[in-house]
Subunit: 476 residues, 2 copies
């Protein structure tokens, strides 16, 4: 006869296996689960163990007791896709998102909080041990750090980036790169290089809040171009906006834009660049998620269609290798002199050693292997988070179907206020990012972004269940 | 009988010792040196060796053959002090220095060039081996770098800075620091926090060109307040400017301002803060040279007199430990929220590991020992560079007498154009920084800054001699 301990393991394993089947959608939302008797027979366990397993699943919020009898996979919301928006407000808006971002940032460094707010990645997904070892070796072997980098950053890194650009279906010379403190500095410098205060900038809607904050700080105004949850920025609406109002720059993230995870087709990328070129508007392309296709492909940046040097391509290793290394870059095209000059007056240069460690990691050939694994972690993780939202959130909730990256965009019924949900969730030690942060016009009041950079743990699962309850509570 | 090799060493040693006596001013400019016979007798060397020593000194430009006979210490310019300027142009000027800075930056990374241009420090003066070892240890022991720092930077560094602030005669809490990518980012963020495009900012004249470039890039205008070469910004003129024109911020470097090396007295610091407070103008205080007093003292920052949180104190380790670590900070006072928000949108955070290595170095207690040595290196080095300028530059040249730091400001006769001199010097592989870069109004056309962060080597000595010749050639 099995010991108490073994029995305990047994019911937990059974519950876990059924949870897997639910997440895999072998059992669909609303479906009836096997009876206790059948489950016990199939698994060769006692009825008591089967009952304990179902009780666990019920307390986890994955299943429920049906009105008549039996256990059912809990169904809260259907898998409604995000509806594309088609309303364009061509008048540029002053931006004011800064105050709301503080709560998101503050929660990022609190380990007691379930990290679904900031776009953070689980340390176990990142090759920090290898990278840090490489950095340690470089530090011991040299007097690196005694002087400033040249205006473009260390040539060792730029050479590796030049080589990598071939995989992006580009061929960028090492001297066309300027390294930056993450992609955020790259975007900030690019915006500074091509605009003056008061200018209007076209952005995706929703858009990454850090971008909106940069627009705010630079005294620019935003024209929000609705983005389709699967295809990205709506180019017809962009065209209308370009005709309606003088726009000085466009910032877009055609590859897996944050927060929607949309992927723009190559045809649309070409059209985007052509359209902007026709209106003499530079494109600042944020490609930080470009490596993170869930299907393993590496889509090309819109920069590949740039014939006149008017696309400023921004990238970093913050979403693939090491956020805390602060290694990014920009390929500024015809704005290179301006960007180099701005870089000097902003930060002079980057810390040298982290850049050399990243260069060494690229050179070692381990990067591609690592990114393959990371991609499949995210593909699986995002799917499981998504399933959990489907199971837990109120009816009428819509969810994005990201093609890459690790963000989920959740549009709840109108009656749910994202700021209230953020505050309620924080009281339960759960961080999320409220929708209005992703909009200059403070739209998306009933939306949230859920960051899925950490594994879908029992803790994360419970957090999603709790979020669903809190959202439902707002609906009364 | 001594070998040929020994003889060679003998004449070189003799020349070197006499050079020392000249640099020490035991022999003053214009003074007659001992005759060959006397020198030979005193040193117990042959006449031929004495002759060879004098020939070496002559070719080094330190001595000359007199009109009648005998050897004399070469006198070119007298030790004229920099004349304080008293003219104030209270109307704010648009700034445009960026283009001129590029040549200075480009020359910084070329090892073939004698580095008298950028404010670089000789690697052998910096404890990079110890710092890098510390960084390597931290990298091996942790998964540092997997995530972003909190909005203020790592607490380990801020704690050390809080402790160090006691030595600045301040007592700053760790939570009042925000770490930045060097002091340049600190100044940039501070300017962004307290101004809007078009605002006027009071700056010292001359002022560090990186500051002027930041003012240019932010669309601000500058009001240049003449600075006294020994006492710093002229507070009477600042007061006049504050009455004459609306000024939104003041940037000053009371401790060993770059390029003059002036030190403002504590009384004047107090007056500066009081004056600005009365006009409701925040002070951005650049204290990067504060540790580098030639007499070994540590003057307090003006922040010590701040009663209302309106002084934003900026610092870094770039002039004392490791420029390439890019570790700086700001104590933003009442502007803390704004600065933190700006920091996030500019660069999100710093690279983590270099900051932790600096924190560890501070904690180890080695920092103060190191800085003592560095200070005395700079005190001696600047003095030798200064003597060389006195010996080599045309009559009528005026030279600063820095109280700290490692810059020399040289005001040549009116007929010398600094840009021409910069171009001529670069053809001889010598970098300098032309005076107009230090002025929004492109003043100081006959001035240059000579950076003395490298030892006064024979190569440096020859470069100063060459610069003197090139300047003299312009006078015809």
């Amino acid at each position: 006869m099995p010991s108490k301990k073994q029995l305990e393991l047994l019911y937990l394993r059974t519950a876990d296996e059924i949870a897997q089947l639910i997440h895999n959608r072998t059992f669909r939302a609303g479906e009836r689960l096997p009876s206790l008797r059948r489950l016990a027979a199939e698994r060769k366990i006692s009825i008591a163990t089967a009952l304990a397993a179902y009780a666990k699943l019920e307390s986890d919020g994955l299943i429920e007791i049906g009105a008549k009898s039996g256990h059912f996979v809990r169904r809260q919301c259907d898998q409604l896709p995000i509806r594309p928006r088609q309303r364009l407000h061509a008048a540029p808006s002053r931006v004011s998102v800064s105050s709301g971002i503080i709560a998101v940032i503050a929660a990022m460094s609190d380990r007691a909080v379930v990290p679904l707010g900031g776009a953070l990645i689980a340390p176990e997904y990142l090759p920090l041990r290898a990278l840090n070892r490489s950095l340690a070796g470089l530090a011991r072997a040299s007097l690196c750090g005694a002087t400033y980098d040249g205006p473009r950053g260390p040539v060792a890194l730029r050479q590796q980036l030049a080589k990598r650009s071939l995989r992006w279906q580009l061929s960028i010379d090492e001297d066309q790169f300027v390294t930056t403190v993450g992609a955020m500095e790259a975007i900030h410098l690019s915006l500074s290089a091509v605009t003056r205060p008061g200018d209007a900038v076209a952005v995706e809607s929703p858009a990454y809040f850090g971008l909106l904050q940069a627009i705010e700080h630079l005294g620019l105004r935003a024209v929000e171009i609705p983005a389709h949850a699967e295809r990205g920025m709506d180019l017809d609406l962009l065209q209308r906006a370009l005709r309606a109002t003088p726009i000085r720059a466009c910032v877009a993230s055609p590859n897996f834009m944050n927060p929607l995870g949309a992927l723009m087709s190559d045809e649309d990328k070409q059209r985007l660049v052509a359209l902007l070129t026709r209106h003499d508007v530079p494109l600042i392309e944020d490609d930080v998620y470009g490596e993170l296709a869930h299907d393993g492909s590496r889509p090309m940046p819109a920069k590949a269609f740039d014939r006149h040097g008017t696309v400023l391509l921004c990238g970093s290793v913050s979403k693939t290798l090491a956020p805390g290394y602060r290694v990014g870059w920009v390929v500024p095209g015809r704005y290179q002199d301006k960007v180099e000059s701005l870089k000097f007056s902003h930060t002079v240069g980057n810390a040298t050693l982290p850049q050399l460690a990243v260069a060494e990691y690229f050179e070692s050939g381990r990067y591609d292997r690592h990114v393959r694994k990371l991609r499949s972690n995210f593909a699986r993780g995002v799917q499981r988070f998504r399933d959990a939202v489907v199971l837990s959130f109120p009816r009428g909730t819509r969810i994005s179907t990201p093609r890459g990256g690790f963000a989920l965009w959740v549009e709840m019924p109108r009656g749910v206020d994202a700021y209230t949900l953020q505050a309620d969730a924080l009281r339960h030690q759960i961080a999320i990012a409220p929708g209005p942060l992703f909009s200059a016009r403070r739209g998306f009041r009933n939306c949230i972004r859920i960051s899925c950079g950490y594994p879908f743990s029992p803790r994360a699962s419970a957090a999603i269940t709790r979020l669903g309850e809190l959202a439902a509570a707002q609906l009364g």
